[in-house]
Amino acid sequence: MSEERSSEHGKNQLSFKDRPIKILLAKPGIDGHDRGILVLAKAFRDAGMEVIYAGLLPTPEQVVETAINEDVDVVALSLLNGAHMTVFKKVADLMKERGVNDIAIVGGGTIPDADKPKLEKLGISGNYGPGTPISVIIDHVTKRAMEARKLKESGQ
């Protein structure tokens, strides 16, 4: 490792920006369509992120609890069953309820344009559909992760 890092206490910590992004991937509804989320899990890993995959059928409560326990930067939700307006909202509401404002939420799946502003209002951004280039998604996740970290840092 670079020599400067280990010369003093704590100097071997990774800087704010270099630290890998920690992301939780979850499908919080009754939905087994996992092709997209599995591709993203691998793509995020290959982009250097630390990925926690919550598997199929976690409840919104479980997703929020996991996000908190793992202290992730970002929660990425995916649904292709049309229930995003109900289920994504539940996740966002629970986060708020638990006083968490420094974990970003992003969404994806089959989300009609009309629903996107409503999700944005809940703090759920991205909301990408099939055919979105992975690089676009990674850029967005990175941007949201950095925002979340800034909040974390100031909150600490």
Binding site: H9, P20, G48, E50, V51, I52, E70, R98, G99
Partner: protein, 311 residues
């Protein structure tokens, strides 16, 4: 801020625990980390640390879920740490082991955290030791640490765990011989998973025989066959863990050994830190390197000379 986190840890608040672990994971041995551990250290020492190791796909996660459930049902507070090796190429990692224990985690409010080995020298070791302390201070009776496969993380777990459980299964074939070579000495409890499968019984006998041939210590490692679907064998497994816990509690030597290992790790770090600047200077000194290149001095002698100088 730290005070609030520490107060939260004592309450067992998951968010505070999370934040504290993030500090030791992200900040390395910063002042923050040091202060945190300094303050909570008094409150540690109550948890029994169970390390679980074994080849991937052998069913460790399901087994941990079941252990969590059974210990929780006995009124014990359990926490879990899962360690994964990051990709040496991208630094990324992908952890899915939560899936198979999620039900137990939710049902009993078990705290579980994944740690990725970020490839910093010694960084993981220290953060595992510190993470375990945080969970200990949070009132855990048992802390289960899971590692996947071999490597540094495994060694760390073996060193910091009070009880090491080695999980094996049928169908490993010749592999089992290779695996055996490295693990027979470290296990306090051996588990053969998937007892319903062909070859499980043979694997069990194989391990028992190998153990019988080994020099006997005070503790004789039991070999437990389990079936995670039917929960067969789990009572015996829990009993073995508890028995080994009592054994450890009366075994002063084992506890001292653990403390020595940790101390050694920190002393190494401190020493390196203290002299690193000087060492760096030497390493940058091209004149010296030239001597080395021209074969005027061999690496052993050079190192001896340099250490002499610095100290």
């Amino acid at each position: 801020m730290l005070d609030k986190i520490i107060e939260g840890i004592y309450r067992g608040d998951h968010r505070s625990i999370s934040r504290a672990i993030s500090i030791v994971e992200n900040e390395g041995d910063s002042e923050n980390t040091r202060n945190l551990i300094r303050q909570i250290y008094q409150r540690t020492g109550n948890a029994h640390i169970v390390g679980i190791t074994g080849p991937p796909g052998i069913g460790k996660s399901t087994m941990i879920g079941n252990i969590c459930a059974l210990l929780s049902e006995r009124g014990k507070k359990v926490s879990v740490v899962a360690i994964d090796a990051s990709s040496p190429f991208t630094g990324g990692s992908l952890l899915g082991n939560r899936i198979r224990m999620q039900e137990s985690l939710t049902k009993y409010g078990v705290y579980m955290r994944s740690l990725a080995n970020r490839g910093i020298n010694g960084g993981l070791s220290r953060s595992i030791w510190d993470t375990v302390k945080i969970l200990d201070a949070a009132g855990s009776d048992f802390i289960i640490v899971e590692t996947v496969g071999a490597g540094q993380a495994d060694l760390d777990v073996i060193n910091l765990a009070d009880t090491v459980i080695v999980v094996l299964g049928p169908g490993l074939g010749d592999e089992i011989q290779a695996i055996k070579a490295g693990i027979m000495e470290i296990g306090h409890v051996f588990v053969i998973n998937k007892m319903d499968r062909q070859g499980a019984y043979i694997a069990m006998k194989d391990i028992e025989e190998t153990l019988a041939m080994m020099p006997r210590g005070e503790w004789k490692p039991p070999v437990v066959g389990i079936n995670s679907l039917t929960r067969e064998g789990y009572d015996t497994l829990i009993e073995s863990i508890c028995k080994h816990r009592s054994f450890c509690e009366t075994n002063r030597e084992a506890r001292l050994r653990k403390f020595r290992t940790e101390l050694q790790m920190h002393i190494d770090d401190e020493l390196r830190r203290k002299f690193q600047k000087d060492i760096n200077g030497v390493l940058k000194d091209e004149g010296r390197l030239e001597e080395y290149l021209l074969r005027r001095i061999d690496p052993y002698s050079a190192a001896e000379e340099i250490v002499e100088e610095i100290a």
